[in-house]
Symmetry: D2
Subunit: 395 residues, 4 copies
């Protein structure tokens, strides 16, 4: 078994080096295998079109790639550690099943455009997963508004009561914020929907490939023309996707922070579903908002992923470097953290109960001070004077 980048060599491989360079790829790549199959099938069809492969060869390759893709989707595909990544494992499987034909698939491409094609297709699919989770949370917030939107609560500034707000206004604020994030997600999804196939290792391939055809067959909407721009996008496109996840997660972080505050026994505007709380190993009275705390903390995990993506490629000359291998993990971790957090929040919000009595009790008179100012303004008192008069009682 030979890795794609491996030359016939008299050098014995060093097992520590093999372990170090494989890193987490044998695990992480299980998630990319299906997308590599899709991209490879597109590439094979293109090789057929330009006459490098015979129609029958294309069919056999595509059939076998489909079989691998299904096994990957069903969790049956395995990447032996010594093969390092899904790309080697897939090509070896093709060769094992199809003999010499399997070795022809790599004509007209490099591992670089191959990896990148799989990663982009993966990101496009994952963007859909994030959008669904975000939509579920938005729906949960709107459901809460439907149930209890009219209940008045104090609005806070500086962590002190400010003016009257309501469950509906509050939930609607988060729903709108999430919808704005979703539009950026759609933008970056579109950005990633450009095919790198045919750019080789960053300088094209010395073969008349049909990039537009490969792109279409692999499932891309467009071709990213310049191969150097393709390489410059690595880590960078991902960083914007993860930045977008960080925006969703910032909303989630603040929503969680609000809910931790609103469900304190002393505040009590909302009751968290019991299944989302935990007790203490020492204090028998505790009902702790652990799920919300973890959501809050996961924001920082996503942000760290974004930062790693934004620092890894700085200071490198253009063209591929192995440093890029380390962009996969923060990308996948951020996607999981965001998807899981949005989904669990959606479920929690759906089970949220508003305690109307507690809300009413919290609407102490100072919450209405500004309304009293404006009542005077409507009677003709200048604003600054009205403010001064009402303010007197709080000195």
């Amino acid at each position: 078994m030979v890795k794609l980048w491996q030359k016939k060599s008299k050098t014995d491989p060093d097992p520590d080096v093999e372990t170090f360079t494989a890193g987490d790829d044998p695990d992480l790549d299980l998630r990319l295998a299906a997308y590599d199959c899709a991209a490879s099938a597109g590439h094979a069809r293109m090789l057929g079109k330009i006459g490098v492969l015979q129609p029958d060869e294309v069919r056999r390759l595509v059939d076998e790639l489909d079989a691998i893709r299904r096994s990957a989707e069903e969790g049956r595909f395995e990447i032996p550690r010594e093969m390092e990544d899904c790309h080697t494992a897939i090509e070896n499987r093709l060769t094992e099943k199809l003999g010499e034909l399997g070795k022809k698939i790599h004509t007209g491409r490099s591992r670089n455009d191959q990896v990148l094609a799989a990663l982009r297709l993966f990101c496009i699919a994952e963007a859909g997963r994030i959008r669904s989770a975000a939509e579920a949370l938005t729906a949960g917030l709107k459901g809460l508004s439907g149930r209890s939107g009219g209940v008045a609560i104090p609005g806070y500034t500086h962590t002190r009561k400010a003016m009257p707000s309501s469950i509906g206004l509050w939930a609607g604020g988060y729903a709108l914020a999430l919808e704005e994030d979703a539009r950026l997600l759609e933008f970056i999804r579109g950005r990633m929907d450009q095919s790198p196939l045919g750019t080789g290792a960053g300088y094209g391939v010395p073969l008349d490939v049909d990039r537009a055809y490969a792109a279409k067959e692999a499932g891309f909407s467009a071709v990213q023309e310049n191969p150097i721009a393709v390489q410059l996008s690595r880590g960078k496109f991902e960083s914007t996707l993860v930045h977008c996840l960080a925006l969703f997660m910032l909303d989630a972080n603040r929503l969680a922070t609000d809910l931790i505050f609103f469900s304190m026994p002393d505040t009590g505007f909302v009751r968290l579903p019991a299944a989302f709380c935990t007790g203490s190993s020492i204090m028998p009275q505790k009902k702790n908002p652990d799920v919300l705390e973890l959501v809050r903390a996961k924001y920082h995990a996503v942000l760290a992923c974004q930062i790693q993506l934004q620092t890894t490629t700085a200071g490198l000359i253009s063209g591929y470097h192995r440093d890029l291998q380390l962009t996969k993990k923060p990308l996948m971790e951020a996607l999981d953290a965001a998807a899981d957090s949005l989904a669990i929040l959606a479920k929690l919000v759906s089970g949220l109960e508003v305690d109307e009595a507690a809300c009413a009790k919290a609407l102490t008179e100072e919450v209405f001070a500004t309304e009293r100012v404006y009542a005077l303004v409507k009677q003709g008192v200048p604003f600054r004077e009205a403010y001064r008069r009402v303010g007197k009682q709080y000195e």
Copy 2:
């Protein structure tokens, strides 16, 4: 003189507290003053429309705001340190010039929506400045392509020669990357073009304000409806703008890294304009690429600004907190760093000379190894076998 948020109070202010809370605002806000005038004029016209101000009052306020705006644009407006920020300074100036009328401008708004309106108008204008600088750099790259695009150079991967590239391919890669960034900039500019006017301190104002009219008169294209979403956007919208700047700067960082590498005496593909290099205080032979190094480093300054914007608001309950004051500085610093870097790079690239002899010399035979592989492929040798044959000479 009284600050906008200051209550008549028997408490003597503490000068250390005043210094601490003012921070850098008296300086930073000089850049916001003109935008505050524009937003305030829109707000005043709206107050006229709903009958809170008389037409004559509106006219006098707007005229005075215009005068202040002009003085700000011409660098003549000053913010006395004890006034802390431009908003207090402007309202005090209105009151000084127009008496009681000046005090009426704050009817129907809070400092929160006022500050945010000015900041958004500022960001929209600054996005234009960034776009222009980026376009100048793109034009510089295309100009270089025009002059020397056909000159072949080695393309590198892993900081080793890989395959043939060209000045045109290389410059075109950066141009495309910058154009992709510019589309995200346009997206986020559109995102910021939503009026916060009328959302008060985050819970509306108890007055029938006409938000759509105020938005239009202040120069916004749309209204951001939910006041809590408006507050949730603070720091967050800015962080995406600065993320976009970080993308531009990542391109600039890598372009600078390439040029430092390409202009090494040993490589010598390009000659940097002499005015962009410096010598050494001890080594008489040196011609150092200081401008490029500073551009490279400024990427990290912009990234740090982005991170500060993304961490400052996490963990805060919804609603305004004074923490937000500290988002202004990283925003402005990132804008300046990006605009200056793109502009100076544009100038440098325009003066770049390609050394054709050095480029030709660098095209050593191994750069063409892949072409030799594909020559065999075209003769019918399977790719993996062709690769093995050509590879032999490099073992």
Copy 3:
């Protein structure tokens, strides 16, 4: 006037380049000038010792450097923008006053070791400023303990009441944390107290300099021997200093967060001094903890500075690069943010009043649930059983 690194050259300088490369140095370097004078005086005395300068020359140089140092300390020293930094400005002043003798001071050094010597002396002095501010805060916390240490308050976990705590326990926790930070500060101060003088641009100087003597005369306790290690330390030593500031600021951030929470009208354990609060421009009842919010936010400003210091030098080959110029600003900003925050917190804590009635009221019965468990344990009930029994009432 010629900059230290400037070669006699026919190239006209480009004013945009000059502005770009000078950056903020003319302002920032005002703080370094006195330290450059101290280091330069040490260097001059060493040149005397090894016979490069005559005793009389040394005396005149040292006297003039002392005069410049005093003017810098008194805020009278100026750095003309065209001179870019304090090092050029100081050498030009020496030459202006002492003629040819002024030009001799640069013998046996490079700008690199010169700048670094000044920066290290600056950091050593600034570490003292930070230590004092931290000690003032620790003293304030201990003073609070002395006044009200015995007052019981609820201790919280998960933002819910957990078990009984006290003002003394709470204040003592922060005091201990700050003292632990101070020990790291002392460690890093010691790390920086190594002289770079004599390492030139990173490869020594071709002259028999006496590094130990220069170090001693410049005020360093030790010599950092390897010149490449000296260059590798740039940005890195600073990053650890700023990391230490970030630790202080994390304590400050959490102390501020506690005080914002403990001074909410609903909680009310402590009353903030009125001079440290602000009102609202629209809500007449507000007393906002702005100072605490700004301290909280400044943590993130310091953290951003740390990150910038940690990212700027990564990926650079060993040896000096101009990128390092941009490490000065985050270093200085972090020092100021930390010193100012610790000082203002010290003042605020000294004025803090504990509301004993509010504290007592907050000690609701569930705070004592764990004590009831252990009362059963002491009667012989196994812990898990006792926990179960007491827990029943909270189901």
Copy 4:
């Protein structure tokens, strides 16, 4: 089976919640189990000393904990996913084996001090692993110096040749930098060597525990007195440990950057061992320095971990929050990344060969320009004049 924090409750657990809250703990905690056993044994002995447990009970608990520890060290201990973490799994195992006695071990402690004790013992042990890896690298560098230290190479500034350097000077610079890092590691190791046992959930335990005895028996050198300081340290102590790892990794990053540059075919000062290089899937001539590139990139992974640790706890009131669970993963990932990188670099450096001919060829005349200046200086020419004269030839 009941988790430690779980109350008897009629609420059915939600499997999504269970999955979300367990997170990566069942995997990560396999590394903590042995340390939990050590700390628990110390705690058990202390309970014996204060009479809560009988001597026979202590012995049986300690024996069983030892058995679990051994199984953990041998990789045989398992944490069923439904038990969530090692602490629950260990206590359940004790109860399974020892019946009611197993339930007594949790007397006088909380999960908080239990987890923290295990984490600190883990960190202390891991610091040893890092120190060893760093020492191996330092030894490798010194070995290289021994072999080829006298070979002259050009020293670079600004990525351009500057002055003569040597393999020995260069390797010695990194060795010194690593030794300086190691001293900080020792400092932070000492900082972590303070026992949290007996601080419960952050407010002590209502039982007369003997903290000093528990500390000694668990293997700590000291007791961290204030329980609130103990909680404030969480994430924070770890962040300084990881900051120290980031310093090691910055050296590794720059060492790798140097070696990538020095082993370019055009430079060729050193030859990388063949086992540490890889080829290309498309270009048969390539020998790529992948290991060095991955080391370079891992710096950014470690930095991201540090940042996550530094942001997660900001803005939280004092006392435990579940957010802290997410500090384990970045801590462990950073430790592994640093240990692995230092170890592989040590191995690579040991196999490095210096190409003396290539080094000699690179010492072109301009490298000696400064020496020519100083030759003139020694003849009595003032430095600035000598510089000017030598500089002429480079204009």
